[in-house]
C-alpha cells in the first residue's frame, strides 16, 4: 500500500490537500480536502447596508474580485429594481471580460505551463524561454491596465457602485486601450499556438456543462443559465433551485450538484455552449488546434482559455472603442452616473461568467436596505464534485506511472479546472 499525499497543492489559489491510496497498482481511495479556512461572507454581510455588500464580497477573491463586485451589484440592483444605463452595462461587460485577460494569462502561464515542461514554477522560464515569459507578463499587464482603466484598480475595483460607476472613463484613454488590445491579438494567438503544441493528455468527461448563454454575444454579464447536455435554459433567478449546494464532511467548501449529478463550469463549458458566438479570430484558432463542439477533454480547458483570450482581446477592443465613441456623444444613455432609486425590501439575483465559470450572488434586503440574507455560489464550488469524479476515474489510468509522474498527472487534472479554493470556501 502506498499513499500519495499532496499537502497544500501548489499553483492554485487557496489551500487544498489531495490524498490517494494505492494498493497493488489499484487506486483504493481518493480524497480532495479543501482546507481553506471559512471566512463566512454570507453571514458576515448580514446587517450591513446594501452598498457595502459589493465592497465586502469583492474580497471573497483577489483574482476575480471584479466578478464578485459586479455580480453582487447585479443582485443588489435586482433587489432594488434598478435599471442601469446602456453605458454602465457596457462598462461592466468590459470590466468582467477584461478580467479574463489577467486571469487566463496567469492560469495558463504561471499555474499550468510549468507542468508541461516539468518545472516547479514559471520563474526558470525567464532564462530558458524569455519570450514566453515576456508574452505572459504583457498579457497580464494589459488585463490589469484594462481593469484599472475601467474599475479604478486591477485587484478590487473602486469605481463600480450601485446604479452605475463613481467615475467614467476618458475617451482618449479608451481609444489608446482599444489600440493596445488590437495589438495584443498577436500575443493571444501566440498563446493559443504555444498551448496547442504542448503534449496534452486526453481524458473525456461525461458530465454536463453549464454556462450563461445569450444569442448574439459571448455572454459574461448577461444571459440565462444553459445546460449543454440536458438542453434546458433557465433564468438566473432560478439558480437556487437548479444548483443544489450542500455542505460536505471534512471540507470547508460546499459542493454543488445539478439533478444530483456533478457538472462543470468554466472555459470548456463556455466554448461549447457559446461556440456560435465566438469571434472569427477565435474560431480560426480553435480550428487550427482541431477543437470543435462538443468537446469533452478535461485537459482542453487550457486551450479553451487560450481561445477565450483570442476572443477577449478582440471583443474588449470593440467594447472600448464603442465606449470611446459614445463618450463624446450627448445622449442620456451615455452617462454612468448612478441611477436614482428608492430603497425597498426584496431579494435580488445576479450572475456573471467569471474566468473559472458562472458565479452567482443573491441578497435579501429589508425596507431600510439592510442585508438580511446573502448567498454566493462560486465556479469552483460547482466544479468540486466534478473534479472529485474525474479524478476518481482518471487516477487509475495513470497509477502505473513513476511516483513523480503520477503526482504530476493528478495535479495537472486538478489545475485544468484552475480551481480557486478561497472562492470555493468564502
Amino acid at each position: 500500500m502506498s499513499k500519495l499525499n499532496i499537502h497544500h497543492l501548489a499553483r492554485i489559489e487557496g489551500h487544498g490537500n489531495v490524498s490517494i491510496e494505492v494498493k497493488n497498482s489499484k487506486v483504493k481511495e481518493i480524497r480532495l480536502d479543501v482546507v481553506e479556512p471559512a471566512r463566512l461572507f454570507e453571514s458576515m454581510i448580514v446587517g450591513r447596508r446594501y452598498d457595502e455588500a459589493p465592497l465586502a464580497t469583492s474580497r471573497v477573491c483577489g483574482i476575480c474580485s471584479a466578478n464578485h463586485f459586479v455580480t453582487n451589484l447585479l443582485a443588489v440592483e435586482d433587489a432594488l429594481d434598478i435599471t442601469v444605463s446602456e453605458r454602465t452595462r457596457t462598462m461592466r461587460q468590459l470590466l468582467v471580460h477584461g478580467s479574463f485577460l489577467q486571469n487566463h494569462a496567469t492560469a495558463l502561464y504561471v499555474f499550468a505551463a510549468p507542468d508541461f515542461v516539468q518545472l516547479p514554477s514559471f520563474f526558470p522560464l525567464a532564462e530558458t524561454t524569455p519570450e514566453v515569459v515576456q508574452r505572459a507578463l504583457r498579457l497580464k499587464k494589459l488585463g490589469n491596465d484594462l481593469c484599472t482603466l475601467v474599475g479604478g484598480r486591477a485587484v478590487h475595483p473602486i469605481t463600480p457602485t450601485v446604479g452605475g460607476f463613481t467615475a467614467d472613463v476618458d475617451a482618449d484613454a479608451l481609444h489608446v486601450m482599444a489600440q493596445r488590445l488590437r495589438d495584443a491579438a498577436a500575443d493571444a494567438a501566440a498563446t493559443a499556438e504555444f498551448f496547442g503544441e504542448l503534449q496534452t493528455p486526453r481524458f473525456d468527461t461525461t458530465s454536463d456543462m453549464l454556462a450563461l448563454y445569450e444569442a448574439g454575444t459571448y455572454a459574461v454579464t448577461v444571459g440565462e443559465i444553459r445546460a449543454l447536455q440536458a438542453g434546458w435554459t433557465r433564468p438566473i433567478r432560478d439558480y437556487p433551485e437548479v444548483i443544489e449546494e450542500q455542505a460536505v464532511a471534512n471540507s470547508n467548501a460546499k459542493q454543488a450538484l445539478v439533478d444530483d449529478k456533478p457538472f462543470l463550469v468554466g472555459p470548456l463549458a463556455r466554448v461549447n455552449i457559446s461556440w456560435d458566438e465566438l469571434l472569427p479570430s477565435a474560431r480560426v484558432v480553435a480550428s487550427k488546434v482541431g477543437l470543435r463542439p462538443v468537446h469533452r477533454n478535461i485537459f482542453s480547458a487550457h486551450i479553451c482559455r487560450a481561445i477565450e483570450l483570442v476572443d477577449a482581446v478582440d471583443r474588449c477592443a470593440m467594447l472600448a472603442e464603442e465606449l470611446a465613441v459614445s463618450a463624446s456623444g450627448t445622449t442620456a444613455g451615455d452617462s454612468v452616473a448612478p441611477e436614482p432609486f428608492e430603497v425597498r425590501a426584496g431579494t435580488g439575483y445576479g450572475a456573471t461568467e467569471a474566468p473559472r465559470g458562472t458565479l452567482y450572488h443573491s441578497v435579501t434586503l429589508d425596507d431600510r436596505g439592510t442585508v438580511t440574507a446573502a448567498d454566493i455560489v462560486t465556479p469552483t464550488s460547482q466544479n468540486l464534485a466534478s473534479i472529485a469524479q474525474e479524478l476518481t476515474a482518471y487516477a487509475p489510468t495513470v497509477v502505473d506511472y513513476e511516483p513523480e509522474d503520477f503526482k504530476r498527472a493528478v495535479e495537472m487534472l486538478i489545475r485544468s479546472y484552475d480551481p480557486c479554493l478561497s472562492c470555493a470556501v468564502h
Binding site: 501548489a10 479556512p37 471566512r39 474580497r59 471573497v60 514554477s121 473602486i158 471534512n250 470547508n252
Partner: protein, 270 residues
C-alpha cells in the same frame, strides 16, 4: 561582499490571495527577486517549504488553531516577519464577522445545523499581531506593489519599519479632491493611515480605512466631527468595522450595533 542573499518565504492564512495576486501582477517584483532568494510561495511554485528562511511575508488573517501553530513556528524560524495586506495587518474584511453575533452562529448561517462537521477548526479572526510580534506592516486592501518593494527592501536590510504617521486627509487635499463630508457622505480619511494617495476618494469612493488607523489619528475628535456632520458614533463605528473590526478602537461601538441599534448617517446641510 559575498553575503548570502536573504531567504524569503511567502505564506498565506485566511485571505482572498489578492495581495499575492498584486505581487504576481507586477513584473517589477521579478527584478526585486535578484536581491533575495524566494524559497517558498505556494501560489506560484511547487517548491516545498524549507526548514529555514530569513524573512517571512504573511498574508491573511488568523482564523484557525492550525494557523496559530504555524505562525509560532514561523516566528521562531524567521528573523523578520512582514504582515502583507489588511487581513494580516488589522484583521481586514474577514474580521468583520466579529461585529455582530457569535462565530458559531455565523457558521450555522452559512453551513446549516451541521456546521461543526464541516468547518471544524475556527477562531475569531485576528491580525498576526494578536499572536506574534510583527516587524513590518504593508497595509491596504489590496497592498500597493511599490510599497511592498519599499518595505521589503527595509526588511532585507534589517532597518526599522517606518509607517506613515499622518491620516489621509492631507494626501487627499494634495490630490485636489472635494471632501466627501462636505457633500454629506461619511469618509474615514479623517483617521485612516495615509500612503495610498487617496486613490479611492480620487475615484469617487469614500475612504473605508483599509490601511488601518494612522498613528497620529485623533479618533475622538473625528467622532465629534462626524456627529456634527450627521453621522453618529454607532454609524461611524460601523464604517470603521469594515476593515478594522478586530481592533480595539473599532470595537467600542460594536456592542451597540450588536444590540440592534443601527447607526444614523444623515447628511446635514453645510
Amino acid at each position: 561582499m559575498h553575503a548570502t542573499k536573504p531567504r524569503v518565504a511567502i505564506f498565506s492564512l485566511s485571505s482572498d490571495f489578492g495581495c499575492q495576486v498584486q505581487l504576481s501582477n507586477f513584473p517589477e517584483i521579478l527584478d526585486t527577486l535578484s536581491t533575495f532568494d524566494l524559497v517558498y510561495w505556494q501560489l506560484v511554485t511547487s517548491a516545498e517549504l524549507p526548514d529555514t528562511y530569513d524573512v517571512a511575508v504573511i498574508e491573511g488573517a488568523v482564523t484557525t488553531d492550525e494557523q496559530v501553530v504555524l505562525l509560532k513556528t514561523i516566528r521562531e524560524t524567521a528573523s523578520c516577519v512582514v504582515a502583507l495586506g489588511a487581513c494580516a495587518a488589522t484583521g481586514g474584511v474577514p474580521a468583520l464577522v466579529r461585529e455582530r453575533g457569535l462565530l458559531e452562529e455565523h457558521a450555522q448561517t452559512v453551513y446549516g445545523p451541521d456546521a461543526d462537521k464541516v468547518a471544524k477548526d475556527r477562531r475569531e479572526p485576528a491580525p498576526l499581531s494578536a499572536y506574534i510580534e510583527v516587524d513590518f506592516v504593508i497595509p491596504g486592501c489590496p497592498i500597493e506593489p511599490l510599497e511592498f518593494s519599499r518595505v521589503l527592501q527595509r526588511a532585507l536590510r534589517r532597518l526599522v519599519d517606518n509607517p506613515q504617521r499622518q491620516s489621509l486627509c492631507g494626501e487627499c487635499k494634495i490630490s485636489e479632491n472635494t471632501c466627501f463630508w462636505l457633500m454629506g457622505t461619511p469618509c474615514l480619511g479623517l483617521v485612516a493611515r495615509s500612503g495610498c494617495e487617496a486613490m479611492c476618494v480620487s475615484s469617487g469612493r469614500p475612504c473605508a480605512a483599509c490601511r488601518g488607523l494612522a498613528r497620529d489619528a485623533n479618533l475622538d475628535a473625528a467622532r465629534d466631527y462626524a456627529a456634527a456632520m450627521g453621522c453618529d458614533a454607532v454609524a461611524f463605528g460601523e464604517l470603521l468595522a469594515i476593515y478594522n473590526a478586530a481592533q480595539e478602537y473599532a470595537r467600542e461601538h460594536a456592542a451597540e450595533s450588536a444590540a440592534g441599534t443601527t447607526g444614523k448617517r444623515e447628511a446635514v446641510d453645510v
